[in-house]
């Protein structure tokens, strides 16, 4: 053994420690080589985009940092800038309330929509995040009535009566649903309408007596970004149930129901929203009994809701179609009737698949609320184009105002789409 060992000149008995990789193959340098300067075209693209970023930032940054925040009109602002590049952000400060609430909302009542706005997030929390205690859903259910009272004012009896209608409907439904779903639903609806009819006398009386009343604000006094929020939130929530009904109707085996739904959906989806708003603005009045006056905001809500419902119906139809046939058959084979199988088996799954599409429709709908400025409603776009840019104080201050409006929409729409992607990951039960 010893002799054999001596034949070998040298045997290393321990393994050498690993050498660090060459410096151009690690860390930042490697990352830059791969991701920024990979090949000639990659380098070229990097240089071009670096130049583009520099060009944009060199224009925008001084404009933002030199911005003037405390002048009362554009001439003072131009004087304060002394020819340097800078934004007149003082327009945002001076017209802040107009941008948010419009011109005619009573200034001493601005706290009301502000509280409603904050409460909106509290009410949405338990709906959006399953981790939050379910008890708080009660508040979410009450929110529409609270928000209505806060924004429109008037006596608190009105939203209470509306709420009572829902409660009565629920009790009647619960007691009769054992007979059949249809009987429960129809009786519940009837009970609610009766409650509201009786309640309308109570409301009239309470309005005269001013029972716990806030100053009433008419719908036409809503404006600014508040109007966009009101339209967006109300129409999304109203269009969801309508969209589900339309989607179910379109899948129905009853030909007349099916064709009513198909025609409605295809008609609404085939025309631009703006023509529907024209209908709300000038045509709808012809179809109502002579002498009825009907809030423009309400007509617009109806039209936007129809519009969004048609799109949501198509999204949900996709979800229904994506469910395996076996789910329908399984529901039938355990003896559930149509309403039960839809409520307990089909819709929960179909809606889960449809969430990304529904969120897309909701984001699109929220952006489309700016279209009401075309029919002379003063939402944030209407406010900027009309009263603010037309005033002698602020004519010519385009960029600050438009970028502010764009930023508001961006924050909300981007937030919603990020939430939807998060939710999709949470709900991806089939991949875990």
């Amino acid at each position: 053994m010893a002799a054999k060992k001596s034949n070998v000149a040298f045997v290393r008995e321990t393994q050498l420690p690993e050498l660090p990789p060459p410096s151009i193959e690690t860390g930042l340098i490697k990352w830059m080589r791969v991701n920024l300067f990979g090949g000639i075209s990659g380098t070229f693209l990097t240089l071009v985009s670096l130049f583009a970023i520099y060009y944009i930032l060199s224009g925008v940054l001084p404009w933002i940092f030199n911005g003037i925040w405390d002048t009362s009109n554009v001439r003072e602002c131009k004087k304060a800038l002394e020819g340097a590049s800078g934004g007149c952000f003082s327009v945002l400060r001076e017209r802040w309330y107009q941008l948010l609430f419009g011109i005619t909302y009573p200034p001493d009542q601005y706290w009301r929509p502000s509280i409603a706005f904050v409460l909106l997030f509290l009410a949405l929390m338990p709906v959006l995040f399953a981790q939050i205690p379910r008890v708080l859903l009660i508040f979410s259910g009450l929110y529409p009535f609270i928000a209505f009272w806060l924004i429109w004012g008037g006596t608190i009896v009105a939203p209470l009566v509306a709420l009572a209608g829902f409660f009565v409907a629920y009790f009647v439904y619960q007691n009769l649903v054992n007979q059949s779903f249809a009987v429960g639903a129809v009786a519940g609806l009837f009970a609610a309408i009766m409650t509201w009819w009786v309640g309308s006398f109570v409301i009239r009386f309470a309005t005269e007596m001013n029972v716990i009343a806030l100053e009433a604000v008419a719908s036409r006094d809503m404006g600014g970004f508040m109007l966009n929020m009101i339209l967006g939130v109300i129409c999304v929530f109203l269009s969801l149930p309508l969209g589900i009904l339309l989607a179910l109707g379109r899948q129905s085996s009853m030909p007349i129901i099916k064709w009513i739904c198909v025609i409605f959906i295809e008609f609404i989806r085939g025309v631009p929203l703006i023509t529907l708003l024209f209908v709300a603005n000038v045509v709808l009045a012809y179809f109502l009994p002579p002498g009825t006056t009907f809030d423009l905001i309400l007509r617009v809500i109806i039209m936007i809701t129809f519009f969004a419902a048609a799109y949501i119906a198509e999204v949900i139809r996709g979800g229904l179609a994506a469910l395996p046939r076996g789910q329908y058959e399984a529901a039938d084979s355990v003896g559930l009737d149509y309403a039960q199988s839809m409520r307990l088996i089909i819709l929960p799954q179909a809606l889960k698949i449809s969430i990304p599409g529904i969120v897309n429709v909701a984001v699109g709908l929220f952006k489309d609320t700016t279209l009401v400025s075309v029919i002379a409603m003063f939402d944030i776009v209407g406010m900027i184009r009309g009263p603010i840019l037309a005033s002698t104080d602020w004519s010519g201050v385009y960029w600050e105002l438009w970028l502010f409006a764009a930023l508001l929409f961006f924050v909300i729409c981007y937030g919603i789409s990020q939430y939807s992607q998060w939710l999709e990951r949470q709900l991806a039960t089939d991949r875990r």
Binding site: G42, T46, I257, G270, V271, P272, F278
Partner: protein, 401 residues
């Protein structure tokens, strides 16, 4: 099991028996629909009587009495409302076509660049997509329109010894009254050139088919790109110079206080076109990205292992499969562009919403007729595009045995 006889039918079965319940339900909803429509219709008739109106399309034959500054066909203020409507239709189609084309190009480029290995460029494209998708298109239209009308110099700035603005290549002038571009002038003999150009396009198709046939028949690979380019341009150019350049350009030039000559593209058209293109381009980019990502890596690897070169992998394997995913949402984006072009009314571009649904409606007071016609027009476009899409989907759907 025998069929239930008529005698055993009870009234309560209309509600409780699933065989008859459907009929009850449908009959009730039809009745409700009928009642609602007759109620609305009777209201309409009463309202029209009270206002002393009727439903009539006679107004389309009356002189319109307003001017349209951006038009593709002849039109004066003495032309009829019908003519104004047609001008509007053409303007809608023009802006929709331009925007669809540019949005597609933009979207494909951005979608591919978003998948680039270059970190900076993919992040930059992500910023573009998110920024433009999440802001209402109306705001973009107005922003671009503001640039076109408030930021660009007036024609006066081009005058004088030391003008503060100058034309690009002495051919294109960006002013706040519109963009002036050279217009082609067709002289005698230009028809021949156009004919030869069209024939060259046909010849390219013939050549490519021949090359494919030769490849499949003999395995011989002909070059395609450069010969195609040669066929496209050489004959037309030769004839163009042989005939003494019959097609020339009419350049816009400054006369007095404004430009004359060439074509004028109004700022409103550019605003609408550009804003729709960048807004919808962001959506198309996402569709393209999703389409490419939907093709599994295995397809690329399989094609590469067959020995195909990278651009052939793209052309023969990846793109045909990705297009199946990309085209349906792309077409619905085209539909969105067409419908969103109705926002023209916000910047005063005279599309059909601006003429028929705008000034004509306000002048004649024929709200119901005008809006009905307007809706029918958009409906017609939507339905024909959906029909095309259905045919396309049928042809590309996977042929499964």
């Amino acid at each position: 099991m025998s069929a239930p006889s008529q005698a055993s039918f009870k009234i309560s079965m209309l509600l409780n028996d699933t065989r008859y319940r459907g009929y009850t339900f449908q009959f009730t909803s039809l009745l409700l629909l009928f009642v609602t429509f007759s109620y609305l219709g009777s209201n309409l008739i009463r309202n029209l009587e009270e206002a002393g109106l009727n439903i009539s399309y006679a107004f389309l034959g009356e002189p319109a009495g307003y001017d349209i500054n951006q038009r593709l066909i002849d039109y004066t203020s003495q032309s009829t409302h019908m003519r104004a409507t047609i001008v509007g239709v053409l303007n809608t189609l023009l802006v929709a076509f331009l925007a669809c084309l540019s949005a597609t190009i933009l979207g494909v480029v951005v979608g591919v660049l978003r998948l680039s290995k270059n970190w900076l460029i993919s992040k930059l494209m992500a910023v573009y997509v998110e920024a433009f998708r999440n802001v209402p298109v109306l705001i973009w239209i107005i922003i671009v329109f503001t640039i076109m009308t408030a930021v660009l110099p007036s024609p006066r700035a081009f005058r004088g010894e030391d003008p503060s603005a100058s034309m690009i290549f002495d051919a294109i002038a960006f002013t706040n009254r519109g963009v002036y571009i050279p217009a082609p002038v067709f002289g005698a003999g230009s028809l021949i050139i156009i004919f030869i150009f069209l024939t060259s396009i046909l010849a390219i198709f013939w050549y490519r088919r021949y090359a494919t046939k030769l490849l499949y028949g003999t395995g011989k690979l002909l070059p395609v790109f450069w010969p195609s380019m040669a066929i496209l341009f050489v004959p037309s150019f030769v004839v163009f110079f042989a005939l003494g350049q019959p097609i020339s350009l009419d350049y816009p030039s400054l006369t007095g206080f404004n430009f004359s000559g060439g074509w004028t593209v109004r700022g409103s058209l550019i605003a609408l076109w550009f804003a729709l293109a960048i807004y919808t381009g962001a959506f198309i980019a996402e569709n393209v990205r999703a389409g490419i990502l939907a093709i599994s890596v295995g397809q690329t690897e399989a094609a590469a292992s067959l020995g195909l070169r990278p651009n052939r992998v793209m052309n023969l394997v990846i793109l045909p499969q990705a297009l199946r995913v990309i085209i349906p949402p792309l077409i619905s984006q085209f539909l969105n562009i067409t419908k969103n072009s109705s926002l023209a009314i916000a910047v005063g571009y005279m599309d059909i919403t601006g003429t028929l649904g705008g000034i004509t409606l306000n002048q004649t007071g024929r709200a119901i007729e005008a809006i009905l016609l307007l809706m029918l027009f958009y409906l017609l476009i939507s339905l024909s595009i959906s029909a095309i899409m259905n045919v396309y989907n049928k042809t590309v759907s996977l042929k499964e045995r």
